[in-house]
Subunit: 219 residues, 2 copies
Amino acid sequence: MTDKKTQLFNADGDPTVPRAVMGRLSLYLREAQHLLRDGNETTNSTELGKLLGLNGAQVRKDLAHFGQFGHPGIGYKCQELVFAIKRIMGTDSTWNVALVGIGNLGRALLRYKGFNQQGFRFVAAFDVDPKLIGTRIEGVPVYSMDQLRTVAWEHKIRLAAIAVPSQVAQSIADVVVEIGVEGILNFAPVTINVPDNVRVIGVDLAMELEQLAFTVVNR
Amino acid sequence: MTDKKTQLFNADGDPTVPRAVMGRLSLYLREAQHLLRDGNETTNSTELGKLLGLNGAQVRKDLAHFGQFGHPGIGYKCQELVFAIKRIMGTDSTWNVALVGIGNLGRALLRYKGFNQQGFRFVAAFDVDPKLIGTRIEGVPVYSMDQLRTVAWEHKIRLAAIAVPSQVAQSIADVVVEIGVEGILNFAPVTINVPDNVRVIGVDLAMELEQLAFTVVNR
DNA sequence: TAGATTGTTAATCGATTAACAATC
DNA sequence: TAGATTGTTAATCGATTAACAATC
């Protein structure tokens, strides 16, 4: 194969998925699941594009990154699309997730049903409050921070959500990284630093409202 | 001024802020606030870039979109940066926000302190549950959906967060739009359709975990 | 002045879109 | 077959980066 200019490769020599495409893949999955639930057997790039406010060509190009998905003349079969995207994203099997920090937000996360439906399960929660340790919240056992390593190992935990106060977010992240967690969903409104081999996604709710205000004043 | 190729304009003929820049502006604000709190008077593009994993040139170019911010030879004064970005984003004064849907997530949002610190205030909550209507949660009065129009008008509410079940998210959004809300923060894991003059930002927590899993398997 | 850092230009890079042959 | 839609190429568009004169 000729080394196309637009094709990037990672350290292993595998083609990398462009950042922009990664973000949209979740959207395609969500729409395909909805279409399927509504009884649609097939969809197509134009329809998916309309639903998500994207260009049809972009939808096709995005999906074509991962091989031959579609059926020329027909479109995409919703069921196939769902399976394929889940496989690509690694959510075709369940991920066990740890929660660190059981405040308002932490509790809401434990109660939220949406995670299970997409293949994530909170199997352990951690906090410093002695009154919580040893109890269960929404069926999820609460442990002390000391128990992180053992519990994470037992449950093969690779992902952690941290919903702790900003001041301690970095030190909690350090601990979580140290015990071998590979990905962190950070709800504290601070940038946390981790080694290159660990991924972080930050969810800053105030920042989302800020962005919304900005788009409104910029209209 | 010559019509530069990279300069875009909106319907009013004002220069538009590139999407990518908008997203980063919130990050610059957050870092500048932290630096200020830590006692730093000034910072510079290289430092901000390092903190956020960005190129210094990008930081300078982003900020330069909004006029002369910096001091050649010195850098950026944190206090000035904070004020200026808040003014640009429209968060130099407080926004009153409505919450629709008081489930787990809704309650967590009402209790979350981070919003107030960035200039947002939940002044009214709405739900269909008769047991909640007329009560207060975290000091925020709970109204029935019928009262949306009146209350929104009284409090000059322009933004709403909707944390309702997916099945009703679109119809709730329709109501919220109908009474004149200009921006919606949608926590339901569905795409909602609104007229062009209304902005929507979606926060799908399961999708964030999905993205995290994806980056981990793609490492 | 010498050193530091901005704002801005030009070059590079990556992402989106239009167009269309290939396919069903 | 005629119609529909994919996957892919080439063209366009926008975003990032390097380099440096201007500024303090």
